[in-house]
């Protein structure tokens, strides 16, 4: 009766695989597709935030900081609501991290401010006496790399269909437009900062790394 099947070992193996994998496929794939969709209201990073994200990666903040709040009460008390996968839809790569030498930063924008970051990044022990986090003074003089950030934004827009420039989403525009917008965003942040060199640099049209990094930190919530 099943000769036709039993005589074709390869076909038979494929059939067996499909039958066994079936439950897995229909349980995992749709759930996965649903969960990886951006949550409602999630915006792609602005150019300035993206440049700050590059600084974050370049200086290996993720070696000491995670960006993933797990659904445990001890964590949600400390950091805010637990993370859901749709929040990382525009993160390439995601920065979940696997080590917490310092605290989680996934919602740091909700409870830290521009002026606090300024003090903390300049000298962490000035606000947290026992801190072992290194100070990042070079960020106050080194300028952020907007070109690379723009290239990335444009690439993800074209290749992965990230909704830049779609109605209701972050505007990217041409390189000139994007650069102008980034400088405007930087001015708002510099206005809340105290470091005169940074303020002067922004007034001259430059964007020090610290400004981009703070824009990124403030976007985490």
């Amino acid at each position: 009766m099943f000769h036709w099947l039993e005589q074709r070992p390869f076909l038979f193996s494929v059939g067996v695989f499909l039958v066994i994998a079936f439950a897995g496929l229909i349980e995992i794939v749709p759930d996965f597709a649903q969960a990886s969709r951006p949550i409602a209201g999630k915006q792609p990073y602005t150019l300035l935030q993206l440049a700050g994200r590059h600084v974050y990666i370049k200086d290996s903040c993720n070696a000491c900081h995670s960006q993933l709040i797990r659904p445990f009460k001890s964590e949600t008390d400390r950091y805010g609501p637990y993370s859901v996968s749709g929040e990382y839809a525009y993160d390439r790569p995601f920065l979940w991290g696997s080590k917490r030498t310092g605290p989680d930063l996934h919602r740091v924008g909700e409870y830290r401010t521009t002026d606090w970051h300024e003090n903390h990044m300049w000298e962490p022990t000035s606000v947290v006496p026992g801190s072992i986090m290194p100070s990042y003074k070079h960020m106050f003089t080194q300028n952020a790399d907007l070109e690379t950030a723009y290239a990335e934004a444009l690439t993800v827009k074209k290749v992965f269909n990230v909704p830049y420039d779609k109605p209701g989403f972050t505007k990217l525009g041409s390189w000139e437009e994007a650069k102008k917008q980034a400088l405007e965003d930087a001015k708002k942040i510099a206005a809340e900062m105290k470091n005169q060199d940074v303020k002067d640099a922004v007034a001259r049209g430059e964007i020090p790394e610290i400004v981009a990094l703070i824009a990124y930190m403030n976007s985490l919530h």
Binding site: M1, P71, K73, E110, R112, T113, D115, W116, V127, E192
Partner: protein
């Protein structure tokens, strides 16, 4: 080694092991003997695989019922069992939080001042100390100095410098509305919860805060509660973008009891009673 055999659980386990061993030997022996002597009977099926045939025997009843049972169970599991009873990490989290909140609220519903202060200190050290400093002094002007704020000196400071950024419809409070003796008198009055005779100079404040200080239905802050945890609670929910810097809003991040506790704690820094 001696002890091991005196423990009755161990004795029981060893006995069970011995019985299982004996049973295994007996069952295995029985089947090996059966394999040697048994002859198969019944009608052969037509199919034949390289000389190996198959009998057309009925499925044993036990197997058939088990198979049927499995099918029924599968339908139940598919339609009800999995969707309704499935384990979910988020579900467990929600249950854990709900249970904790309930217990927390009933346990501390009528906490006394010392308890609130101790709880408040814990909350403060985690949530507030990075900005206000471990001692609450604002670390040299990085945030509000909580050893002053909330007391008479705090009101004096507000009268002198004004206040902005709590986000009331009235907007900002201008600086320098009163000075000297008048400021002193009003500050004393406000810091004491607006009890006793109202100084005439309070008229300056009444224009915005109302004669009773209650803020004219939310247009300006209710300063009759200044220096109490209730006022701190208002600050925590509003956040403040003031002259010193930005105080973040804690809306929804602390429970009402925690807000009261942290308020009690920080006010103990400026009230030495």
């Amino acid at each position: 080694m001696n002890n091991m055999f005196q423990d009755n659980i161990n004795q029981l386990s060893l006995l069970a092991a011995a019985i299982i061993l004996a049973l295994t030997v007996w069952v295995a022996g029985k089947y090996i003997k059966q394999m040697k002597t048994d002859r198969s009977t019944g009608e052969l099926a037509d199919e034949n695989w390289d000389g190996i045939g198959e009998y057309k025997n009925e499925l044993p009843a036990g197997w058939a019922y088990t198979f049927l049972g499995t099918m029924i169970w599968a339908i139940w599991y598919w339609t009800t069992g999995y969707p309704v009873n499935a384990y979910s990490q988020i579900g467990e989290y929600n249950e854990e939080v709900a249970a904790h909140t309930k217990q927390f609220e009933s346990k501390w519903a009528n906490a006394d001042k010392e308890t609130l202060q101790a709880m408040g200190e814990g909350v403060y050290l985690v949530q507030c100390a990075p900005c206000h400093g471990i001692a609450g002094d604002g670390m040299g002007g990085k945030a509000a100095d909580l050893s002053v704020w909330g007391s008479k000196a705090g009101v004096l400071d507000t009268i002198k410098n004004g206040s902005k950024g709590l986000g009331f419809p009235m907007g900002d409070m201008p600086a320098g509305l009163l000075s000297g003796d008048a400021a002193e008198k009003v500050a004393e009055y406000v810091a004491n919860g607006m009890k006793g005779d109202q100084p005439a100079e309070f008229a300056t404040c009444a224009g915005c805060h109302g004669a009773d200080g209650k803020g004219m239905n939310g247009m300006a802050p209710d300063i009759s509660t200044y220096g109490t945890p209730e006022f701190v609670k208002m600050v925590l929910e509003h956040g403040k973008k003031g002259f010193i810097g930005t105080m973040v809003s804690f809306k929804g991040r602390l429970t009402p009891i925690q807000e009261k506790a942290v308020g009690t704690y920080i006010l103990s820094l400026s009230h030495n009673d």
